[in-house]
């Protein structure tokens, strides 16, 4: 079972928590410790109360736990905000003003006057960096690692910024050493280090999806900023020159998708990144992609709705939206990455499938996935292959030729001797408006044939467990993968299996057999109605026996799952 020390840093927006999180996770990793981090934050730029949770372990860690072992409060709201995750054993290191809470809560506290110490260095701004030094010292990170990171991070700002930050680190280490002499409890946080992981990658979901898009050959990314998907556009904009791609932040989501489809028509590998609300504006054009058979990859970051909802919180409630978006019937593919690695590989694959089948491919994410990160050894680029599906047209080219497979060879304007049509009406093979019932039937059948092909090529669900022993089976999709996996490790019963879907539509044909193996299938999803359970029921007519649903807007934790699965099983006997 994974043993981790869970660290939380909490303060106001604008206090630099993200900087500390980024430096600390890198530093821990470079010292040979595994890290997992995820953050939760309010939808505001200054003030409020945010926190980041960092798990540190000798073994790989990939999921969020509620329990806090060490808390660094950076504001007086930190402890009230996080008290439900604290225990008698939680160690709080911080300013007196942030510790003396009038709460019926006991914890171990160590007072460190971070602000005073920071003033001595020159500005209260350095208090976070001193705290970073203290934590790094407690976890026995070599000081040089921090100095290197500081230098790298503030390279452009020069010595004026680098030197005091280094001093702040040094101060933190001094205090760390003093505390260790004084408090026996700090010794229990010591963990064995594994030099092999020093060179690991450390990526969050946003970065992994953006890298996956580059790996998939993205050439045109269009977006309008909206949490939790803005980061992908930002990342790609910063890489645009290097990789020869166009990133356009457009006037609205309707223009976003129509531009991306225009670019796709002209042969570009197009991507749009949005969230539930923004995606709602795109649905007419998604149906257009279905009619024009244009490849397009659409990343939809789910956030708790309806309407503006909770912009920076997490959910899995837009599966239905993405499944049904757009008028009329047309084939589509929906992925829901379960982890950081999936985010990369599935995004790359999404581009390939979009080109191959000339359909929209969706990637469903959520705030938990895009804002979580952990170390992993590598991304396999060797087997990457971006097949070219564009053909050079001849004089008699017909864009929508009826073929046996349903897929018409895809020509683009300006490549070859032919002309390329795209018509939003029901159209002939040449792309001319048609109201002929036979043409309509053949066109519908063409779309049905493509759906069949797509279905046959679906990614099967991943099964973990002993198929012959299971009585219960947890079923889930998307970003809850590792949370459930760790919870099941903790529960440690051979009669519980786990079936996880990273492709949620069309579902693989093996699904039926998998579900039949268990006596009781328990769906875990973060929406109020069990959208994926309903999808399964609709598609393969198997009723899911129980549902564990969370819809608070805050992620499921390992503890949540342990408790709820235990409940579900005990209630089910």
């Amino acid at each position: 079972m994974t043993r981790s020390v869970n660290l939380a840093i909490s303060g106001q927006a604008g206090q630099g928590i993200a900087t500390v999180e980024s430096l600390l996770t890198k530093a821990l990793k470079r010292s040979g410790l595994n890290v997992f981090a995820s953050r939760e934050y309010m939808s505001r730029v200054r003030g409020g109360i945010n926190s980041t949770a960092i798990r540190v372990s000798s073994q790989p860690v990939h999921a969020f736990e509620d329990r806090i072992d060490i808390l660094i409060p950076l504001s007086d709201e930190a402890i009230p905000h996080l008290q439900h995750r604290m225990t008698n054993n939680t160690l709080v290191i911080g300013e007196k003003a942030f510790l003396s809470m009038d709460l019926l809560l006991s914890f171990i506290s160590i007072e460190v006057p971070f602000t005073e110490l920071a003033k001595e260095i020159g500005s209260i701004l350095y208090s976070n960096i001193i705290a970073l030094g203290v934590i790094s010292s407690i976890f026995k990170v070599e000081r040089q690692i921090l100095h290197d990171l500081i230098e790298f991070t503030f390279l452009k700002k020069g010595d004026k910024v680098i030197q005091p930050n280094k001093s702040a680190i040094n101060k933190g280490y001094e205090i760390g050493a003093e505390l260790e002499d004084k408090y026996e409890i700090l010794k229990k946080f010591y963990m064995n280090k594994n030099p092999e992981i020093k060179n690991d990658l450390i990526l969050d979901g946003t970065e992994s999806i953006a890298l996956g898009a580059i790996a998939g050959g993205v050439q045109y990314e269009c977006f309008y900023p909206m949490a939790p998907s803005t980061g992908i556009g930002t990342f790609l904009a910063q890489q645009a020159s290097k990789f020869g791609l166009i990133v356009d932040m457009s006037e609205d989501e309707i223009s976003v998708i129509n531009k991306a489809l225009g670019a796709s028509y002209a042969g570009a590998r197009s991507l749009v990144t949005t969230s539930g609300g923004g995606f709602s504006l795109m649905t007419e054009a998604i149906s257009l992609a279905g009619m024009l058979e244009l490849p397009i990859v659409v990343v939809v970051g789910q956030r708790p709705g309806p309407a503006t909802g909770m912009p920076t919180r997490t959910t899995q409630e837009d599966l239905r939206l993405v499944l049904h978006a757009g008028a009329g019937f047309f084939p589509r593919i929906i992925f829901a990455p379960g982890c950081i690695e999936d985010s990369f590989y599935l995004t790359q694959k999404a581009f390939d499938l979009a080109q191959k089948y000339q359909v929209p491919v969706f990637i469903l994410t959520d705030q938990y996935l895009v804002d979580s990160y952990y170390n992993l050894p590598f991304l396999n680029l060797d087997s990457l292959k971006n097949e070219k599906f564009i053909v050079k047209t001849d004089k008699d080219y017909q864009r929508f030729k009826f073929t046996k497979s349903g897929i018409s060879p895809r020509g683009i304007p300006g490549y070859g001797e032919g002309l390329v049509a795209a018509d939003s009406h029901t159209h002939t093979e040449a792309g001319m408006i048609s109201e002929d019932p036979e043409i309509r039937e053949k066109s519908v059948e063409k779309r049905l044939k493509k759906l069949k092909l797509i279905k046959d090529a679906s990614i099967p669900p991943e099964f973990i467990g002993d198929a012959n022993k299971i009585k219960y089976q947890i079923v889930s999709w998307g970003s809850t993968y590792y949370i459930i996996k760790e919870a099941l490790d903790k529960i440690n019963r051979s009669d519980i299996g786990f079936l996880h879907f990273s492709q949620v539509y069309p579902i693989h044909e093996s699904t039926k057999d998998y579900l039949k193996k268990a006596k009781i299938n328990i769906m875990v999803e973060q929406n109020p109605t069990g959208q994926f359970a309903n999808l399964i029921e609709n598609e393969i007519h198997i009723q899911i026996d129980k549902k564990i649903l969370k819809y608070s807007g805050y992620t499921l934790s390992v503890e949540d799952i342990v408790a709820q699965i235990t409940d579900a099983i005990n209630g089910g006997n």
């Binding site: 045109y220 006037e251 129509n258 002209a266 042969g267 054009a285 971006n386 304007p413 032919g418």
Partner: protein
């Protein structure tokens, strides 16, 4: 002499529709400018004018109502070598697509935008359009239009559009001349193309347009934004010709950095795996 762009199809427009002349004007202008159908992409929206590309020979993208300017911009961005002509009506462009109209002007892609303007909804049978005159009565606007007409040339000039013209399809040669200038202009070129609807607009007829328009004199300086605005704001007497030009604005494609060092269209490019590997390794 427009045989290259001719297409042997039945045309769906009403007899006498202004779009017939518009079609001829477009086909002849492209032929006279020595374009081949395969160089051209006609992008259109929905409405009677939206059917335009079905009646001529070229690449085309007949997309959604109101969105054709976004589509055209995407096509042009992905392959600047294509000559993109965006055509749709006043309803599609200025009502459903108003936001895209504004912002496409700001981007300044090197495309030609023809608004086939008949001041009425044809496809949906006779409702008022955003350019219908105040008081124009229809089955829906039973007491007459109460909304101020959308003055697309004036709006375009206010946004410093790089080429703004008005034309009347009743004058084939003059309109061809304006269209050819628009196509050859580097940047977004708007033509507010007055095109009578013989079925639903009994006010703005061929005769009405003839009587209520005039050609700009040679003395008109299209480089002067204030003068151009004054001309455009006059909706009682409609100016025909090039009203405003700003040749100094860089085009959107010129502003897209990646084309500075490599002019290949996007489809002709490949992922550089070594660069990706390097990027991935920065996350260690």
């Amino acid at each position: 002499m427009s045989d290259n762009f001719d297409k042997d199809v039945k045309i769906h427009w009403c007899p006498g529709c202004g779009n017939y002349s518009a079609l001829r004007i477009v086909k002849e202008s492209l032929t006279e400018l020595k374009f081949e159908p395969k160089d051209i992409v006609i992008v259109s929206g929905i409405g009677q004018a939206g059917k335009f590309p079905h009646f001529m020979t070229a690449n085309f993208y007949n997309g959604l109502h109101g969105r054709y300017l976004s589509t055209a911009l995407g096509v042009k961005a992905a392959n600047p070598n294509l000559e993109v002509i965006a055509i749709s009506g006043d309803g599609c462009t200025l009502s459903e697509g108003g936001n895209h109209f504004l912002h496409t002007i700001r981007y300044n892609p090197n495309i030609t935008n023809l608004i086939s303007n008949n001041s009425v909804y044809g496809l949906t049978k006779g409702q008022a359009s955003p350019t219908s005159m105040l008081g124009f009565k229809t089955k829906v606007q039973t007491f007459g239009v109460i909304n101020e007409p959308f003055n697309s040339p004036a709006v375009a000039i206010s946004l410093n559009a790089s080429f703004v013209a008005r034309a009347f399809v009743g004058d084939i040669e003059e309109t061809k001349n304006i269209l050819k200038q628009a196509i050859q202009h580097k940047g977004y070129a708007l033509i507010d193309m007055l095109s009578p609807c013989v079925s639903f607009n009994k006010v703005n007829t061929f005769k009405w347009y003839k009587e209520n328009s005039y050609y700009l004199e040679d003395s008109h300086n299209p480089l002067d934004q204030s003068e151009a605005m004054k001309v455009a704001l006059n909706l009682r007497k409609l100016a025909l010709g090039v009203i405003y030009k700003n040749p100094s604005r860089p085009t959107y494609e010129e502003n897209i950095q990646i084309y500075n060092s490599d002019s290949r269209p996007l489809f002709a490019r490949d992922l550089d795996k070594n660069k990706l590997e390097k990027l991935v390794n920065t996350f260690r």
